[in-house]
Symmetry: C2
Subunit: 217 residues, 2 copies
DNA sequence: TCGTGCCTTTACCAATTGGTAAAAAACATG
DNA sequence: CATGTTTTTTACCAATTGGTAAAGGCACGA
């Protein structure tokens, strides 16, 4: 695959460039995550960034380039928790820790979650290759790892792929459907703690292998 | 609330009107569900419907009206399974049946699911009232029902609100993130059966109360 | 045959879209 | 302060946007 951005080569950006690029990306994250690619406008991004439209096009090669930049950055950070699931660790602990980190990320970075959701809902037109290469590899690798854990009896029998899907679904739901959650469950502080407990219980019950240290003998 | 459309009064639409309105709504469902409200264009809807743009505006009072019509229709059908969860039935059966129906709907109506997802992700700007009134009432009612089931020991202790959220999240995920699922799990026929089994196991394990007819004594 | 009411098209609009050219301003550095 | 470079603004542009006005078509009963 081609890298749109050069991490090994020197980006050598001036102070001003770094500051303004960050402003633009932050504004674009707001706008893209709320309206999707086509629904977002450069004028809106410019206004939100406090810059003029031509000035934005001085820093980025067009609307698409901003979107791609956001998506690239996002993917790397987004997949880190899954990547760090340790084959050497205790299987149930590793999975529960992954779930917990994923849920925490949804709470901390709801805009990123919605940006990603928007792109996927629209059929991933600007991210298809990204998915098929990087994500697919990681997904398959971790599926195999989970399958081996199941085989060794360290986890209850479970379909690894669908397990990962349901983890993503449940955790990201709190970010992507925030508007709905807030209407239906207005007390915010409680919601977060409740979500954590619920998600923890949901997956612990699913994954705990039979006869694994029953709490009520 | 005000009704945009008159269900009690006679809609009295001609053959042609019924046919063309259906065409327009179907085309609009495609476009809105893929691009969100702002990303959708009347020209695109018109082309997909096989009609001219002014002709579309002969049947609907503008882009917003089409969107609202779709959303109204959607909400009614979308909530039916939850509505039909029977207070008199066997709790675990009722919930598992609801989950199964919800998953089936996501498979059968992915466009509707994505239309709804798009609207919520964007902060539900054209559906806030709808959520706060109709949905909230139903949600609270069913939460109370589930809570009473838990109280009677018919279900394992669970937060009803978060339970419903996780049911929505997991089931809708297969529709909303279809593009991702298809990349990561290419064999389609198996995916559907696997999803059903996984979701069933996930929630059955969560909800089955302690000592409820253990399969492996 | 002629209306008449429903449907469709043609020809427009003003506003907004992503994007450009080039001048002007700000900045850095000798 | 003079000079070259980086950044920002001004003034545009063609294409697309949602929407309108008005003229045509079309079926159908009197």
């Amino acid at each position: 695959m081609d890298d749109g951005k050069p991490p090994p080569e020197a980006p050598k950006r001036s102070r001003i460039q770094k500051r303004n690029r960050k402003r633009i990306l932050d504004a674009a994250l707001n706008v893209f995550s709320q309206h999707g690619y086509r629904g977002a406008t450069l004028d809106q991004i410019a206004t939100e960034a406090g810059l003029s439209k031509p000035n934005i096009l001085y820093y980025f090669d067009g609307k698409a380039a901003i979107h791609v930049d956001l998506l690239n950055t996002l993917m790397a950070e987004w997949l880190a928790p899954l990547q760090e699931m340790d084959p050497e660790g205790e299987p149930l602990d590793e999975l529960m820790r992954y779930i917990s980190r994923k849920l925490a990320m949804s709470h901390a970075y709801p805009r990123e979650s919605r940006l990603f959701a928007n792109e996927i809902i629209q059929g991933a037109p600007r991210m298809g290759p990204h998915l098929a290469s990087g994500l697919k590899t990681l997904f398959d690798e971790k599926c195999a790892l989970i399958a081996s854990w199941v085989q060794r009896g360290k986890l209850a029998p479970v379909d690894p792929g669908h397990l990962i899907f349901s983890i993503w679904a449940v955790t990201q739901h709190y970010a992507d459907f925030e508007a709905q959650v807030e209407v239906l469950m207005p007390r915010k502080a409680e919601t977060r703690a409740g979500a954590e407990a619920h998600v923890e219980a949901l997956f612990r019950k699913l994954l705990t292998p039979p006869g694994y240290s029953v709490r009520t003998p």
